[in-house]
Symmetry: C2
Subunit: 394 residues, 2 copies
Amino acid sequence: MPASKKIQDSIERASWIRKMFEEGSARKAKFGAENVFDFSLGNPNLEPPAKFDQALRELAQSSVPGLHAYMANSGLPETRQAVADYLGRQNRATFTVDDVVMTVGAGGGLNVVFKTILNPGEEVIIPGPYFVEYNFYLDNHQGVPRVVSTKPDFSLDFGAIADAMTEQTRAVLINSPNNPTGNVYDEKEITQLGELLVESSEKLGRTIYLISDEPYRRIIYDGITVASIFDAYQESFVVTSFSKDLSLPGERIGYAAVNPAMSDKEMICAGMVLCNRILGYVNAPAIMQRILPELLEESVDVSLYKKKRDLLCDGLASFGYEIKKPGGAFYLFPPTPIADDVAFVAALQEENILTVPGSGFGGPGHFRIAYCVEDRVIEKALPGFERVMKKYQG
Amino acid sequence: MPASKKIQDSIERASWIRKMFEEGSARKAKFGAENVFDFSLGNPNLEPPAKFDQALRELAQSSVPGLHAYMANSGLPETRQAVADYLGRQNRATFTVDDVVMTVGAGGGLNVVFKTILNPGEEVIIPGPYFVEYNFYLDNHQGVPRVVSTKPDFSLDFGAIADAMTEQTRAVLINSPNNPTGNVYDEKEITQLGELLVESSEKLGRTIYLISDEPYRRIIYDGITVASIFDAYQESFVVTSFSKDLSLPGERIGYAAVNPAMSDKEMICAGMVLCNRILGYVNAPAIMQRILPELLEESVDVSLYKKKRDLLCDGLASFGYEIKKPGGAFYLFPPTPIADDVAFVAALQEENILTVPGSGFGGPGHFRIAYCVEDRVIEKALPGFERVMKKYQG
C-alpha cells in the first residue's frame, strides 16, 4: 500500500466532499461562475484593512537586517509582548510574553496545544455541531474526540458535558463564535462551564483543560460580547488566528495563549514552544509577526458581514426557512425542511446553490451556508432558495 | 501530569542543549556579545538577495484582490507551475503542478511526506551523522528512525544500509549537502543508492521510498554538483526550503515534490495535500508563494560562504585540526582531538567559542561549527581554537 492505511482511508472518506466540490466546479464550468452561488467555503470575501496594506508596504520598504531570519520558536518578543498587552486589555489578568506562542494560524496553534497535553488515547470533549477538522487534529496526536450535543438553540448542554467526563478526559474544546452555527456562548454559560470544569477536575483528580478556539471573536453582531475564557477558568488556553478578522487566511498567522494563572504553566509553555518546533512549523511566518503589533485592534468592516447576514436571514425567513439570526461568524446553520440534509443540499445544488450538509459537522438535519460572499451572490441565490423550499412544502 | 508524558520527557532531554544555550547567553551578557563567537546555530547571516526585496516591495504595492486569501492546500497553481518548470530544468524528467506541494518550510514538507507514507512502527533508514530533528518528525507519525553509520569520510555505507532493511522499512532519508557534516554525495553514490533501493524493494516486496532533504542544494563550492535523486530512483521525494539559499528561514516556505514517474503517484499526492491540511499547516504562507516564481534561480552570494569556509578551514588545519573542506552547506564537522566531544566543546566554550558536540548529531568524537557568521567572528575566534588545540596536544 503506497500511502499509509490511515491516510488512504481518509482520502476515501473525504471523497464525497470532493465529489460535491467537483460537482460545483463542473456547474461553474457549465453555467458560468457568476451563475453558481457558492456558499460552501468559509473563505472571507473582504480584503484586509487598509492599515494592513500600509504596514506591509512600510515593512517592504525598510532595510532592517534580519527581517526574515530565524527566531525563537515561540516567536518575536515584540510581537508576543504586543499580543500580551492586547490580551491584558481584553481580560482581567495581566499577560507576559511567556504566556503567548505565535503559531501557523489557529490550525497550528490547536495542534501545538493538543500535542503538548495529550497522552495517546486521552479524550477531548467537543460540543457539536463542530468544525470536524478537530477530529484530524486530535488524531494527529492520538487524541480521541468525544462529541456531545448542544441544545436545539446550540447553547451548551452541561448535563451532556458532565456525562461525557471520564478518567481519560483531558480537555473541553469550544469554538465561539461557532463554525458551523454562528452561535456565541453568553457569559453565564462560560462561567457555568468554568464551574463545571473546576468540579470535574476535582472529582477526577486531574486537570481538565478548557481550550477555546476563537478565530471569529471579532466577527460579532448586534452588540453581543464574547465572554472571556481566561476570566472564567484558570486552566485555559485561547487559540486564534488573524484569518477572519484581518482576512489573512492564506498567510497562516495566529497564536496560542495560556491563562497567566495556569498550574504548571512553565512546563506547559515549554511544551508548546517545543511542539511548535518539532511539529515542523518551527515558528509563525516572520513577516506577519512583524506587522501584527500595529494591527491588533484592527479588523475588517464587520458591518458588511452583518448586512449579508440580514439580507440572507430575512430572505430565507420569508420563504419559510426556520431562521434565528446568529450572533457571530459568517455562517447560518438552519434546519433542513426534510430530515435528509444531504438530499436537501443536493436539491439546492440543482439550483446552482452550493452549501454543506450539516452531517459534515456532526449536525444532521441542518445545512451550513457560509455567507462571506458578495452581496449580489446572496441576492441572486434567494429565488433558488425559495423554489427549493416550495418544492418541499408541497 | 500537566504536559503529556512524551513531551515532558522531551523537555527534560532537551535540557543539556538549553544549558549550553543559556551558558552562551550568560557569556554574552558577561563578556559582551562581540566577544563571544557563536558557531552553534545554522542561522544564515547573509541577507536575502536584492531581487527578493524588490519582489516583496512590488507585491506590497500591488492591489490585486485576494492576495492573502485561502487557496488550495497544495498551494498556488502559478507557484507550483514555476517550481515544476524549475525542477524540469534541474532533472531529466518533466514535472507538472500535480507533482509539487508548497509547504511550511522543509520541516513542514518532511512531516507531510512522513505522515503520508508511514504506518505506525514503520522504519526510515537515516545515514548518520544526521539532523536529529528527524527523530521528532518521525515520532510525530509513530515512525521509527534506523540510523546507520556512514564511512569515516561521510560517504554512504551501502552494506550498512542494506543490513538495516527490514520488513518494516518504508524509506531511506538522505540530506545532501549534509547538516552537520557539509558532505555532498556524488553522482555515483546516488546512482548506487537508487540501485540498492530497486533491489531492496523487490526483495522485500514493497516500495522503499527515497526522501531527499535538500535545503542546502544551492550552497555548494568548488564546482561540485549535487546529483539528481529523481534521475536515480523512481520512488523518490525531494523536500526543500528557501531558508538557506534565499536566507528566508523565518518565513517558513518550501516544497515537497514527487518523482513524476512514481508508482501510485495520484494517491501519494492526494495524501500529501490532505496531510498539509490536517497537520494544521493548511497551506504555505501566501505572500512568499506569490513572490517565489521570480526567485527560483536566485540565491545568496555563495562565494561569501566559501570565503568563510576557507578562512576557517585553513586556520584550523594550521593549528593541527583534522580538516577536509566540505563541498556544501555551511558546517564543518571535524573530529575532536579527544574522544569526549562534550568535554572538548566545553573547553572551546571557556574561550567563548560556542559549537555543538557531535553526539548531538549521532556523530560522537566530532563537533559542529556553523560558519554562517560574520568573517570577523571567524577571525577573532581562531586564536581560541588554537589555544584549545594546544592544550590537548600537550
